[in-house]
């Protein structure tokens, strides 16, 4: 597996973090699903996975799955999440014990959308679609999940 320099990430934001954006994401998910249905929301997440994260997708397609690990580490560190990550040759397991995005939304609005974690599940699926790898997202509890990328069988 190729070693990836974190500086090669397509988006490598620095500076302060505005966690309230997660509240707007939660509002958006509820709005889109109520007005247009869940398939539309999933289509939008798919466009995020394919378009916004085209560079990660390209790297995964070429076998550089470590790019995804660097992406996860960079942003979960920036948001102060409690997570662990195991990186192997053809498999990466990210275990999020405490998702600060989920926690922040709960603090802001009380009720987190039941579809809040679809942004992770569906975006991950779209990033991996058409590549030799598959990304699965298992929700373990509220604000806790396991994301695994491994080769398709």
């Amino acid at each position: 597996m190729n070693k990836i320099n974190p500086n090669s990430l397509r988006y490598k934001d620095q500076g302060n973090v505005h966690m309230d954006f997660h509240g707007a994401t939660n509002t958006t998910i509820d709005f889109i699903i109520k007005k247009y249905g869940i398939e539309t929301m999933n289509d939008i997440f798919k466009k995020v996975g394919e378009g916004v994260y085209a560079d990660i997708k390209k790297n995964i397609n070429e076998g550089n799955i470590n790019m995804l690990a660097e992406h996860w580490k960079h942003f979960f560190d920036r948001e102060g999440a409690d997570y662990s990550i195991s990186v192997k040759e053809d498999e990466i397991v990210l275990t999020v014990k405490r998702c600060t995005a989920y926690e922040h939304v709960r603090k802001l609005v009380g009720n987190v959308s039941p579809h809040f974690c679809d942004q992770t599940i569906k975006t991950n699926e779209a990033i991996a679609e058409g590549t030799p790898y598959k990304i699965t997202t298992e929700i373990l509890d509220e604000g806790s999940c396991k994301q695994i990328i491994r080769k398709r069988i």
């Binding site: 397509r10 988006y11 934001d13 500076g15 302060n16 973090v17 505005h18 966690m19 309230d20 954006f21 997660h22 509240g23 707007a24 994401t25 509002t27 958006t28 709005f31 889109i32 007005k35 247009y36 539309t40 289509d43 939008i44 466009k47 995020v48 378009g51 916004v52 994260y53 085209a54 560079d55 942003f75 979960f76 920036r78 948001e79 998702c99 995005a101 802001l108 609005v109 942004q119 992770t120 975006t123």
Partner: protein
């Protein structure tokens, strides 16, 4: 998780979908975001007026890493955005930017200003450049006068 750093690129995808549905759909969404933003702004703006608005955008200036000059006068507040991080990220994006991305900002701020009895003059200047000038007045006549100086004046749903 779509990182908060990448929210604006997600927002951009939502706008592109809604624009295809029609202008009313886009405006309805801005109003929903506006209601969401009321949690952070409405009481502060009602209680402290222009000073409260200064406090809010000074916090945003820091937290969202904006290159923003704020000038509080006795009768108005000016926000001069030199480099907008929101549009900058949408332009620095592997997905295509929505052409009217900037319009959402007046789309959520305008309805809040209408609710608290202030008048917003939102000059985007150029939708392709991450800069704008916003002025907020208590006096409607002064706002109307200021609108004459705008290069690209923004509108919003239900503008008073």
């Amino acid at each position: 998780m779509i990182p908060s750093d990448h929210f604006t690129r997600f927002y951009n995808e939502v706008f592109k979908f809604l624009e295809k549905q029609g202008d009313e759909d886009l405006k309805e969404y801005w109003l929903e975001i506006s209601k969401n933003q009321e949690k952070h702004t409405l009481e502060l703006f009602k209680e402290k007026g222009l000073k409260g608005m200064y406090e809010y955008w000074d916090h945003i200036r820091i937290e969202e890493n904006c290159d923003l000059d704020l000038k509080l006068e006795s009768d108005n507040l000016e926000l001069k955005m030199n480099v907008c991080p929101s549009l900058s990220k949408v332009l620095d994006n592997d997905a295509e930017p929505m052409k009217r991305y900037c319009d959402h900002c007046a789309g959520w701020i305008g309805p809040i200003m209408d609710k608290v009895g202030y008048h917003l003059v939102y000059d985007v200047i150029d939708r392709n450049k991450p800069q704008c000038v916003v002025k907020i007045f208590k006096d409607k006549e002064k706002a109307i006068e200021e609108e004459k100086n705008a290069s690209l004046l923004m509108d919003w749903p239900g503008k008073k």
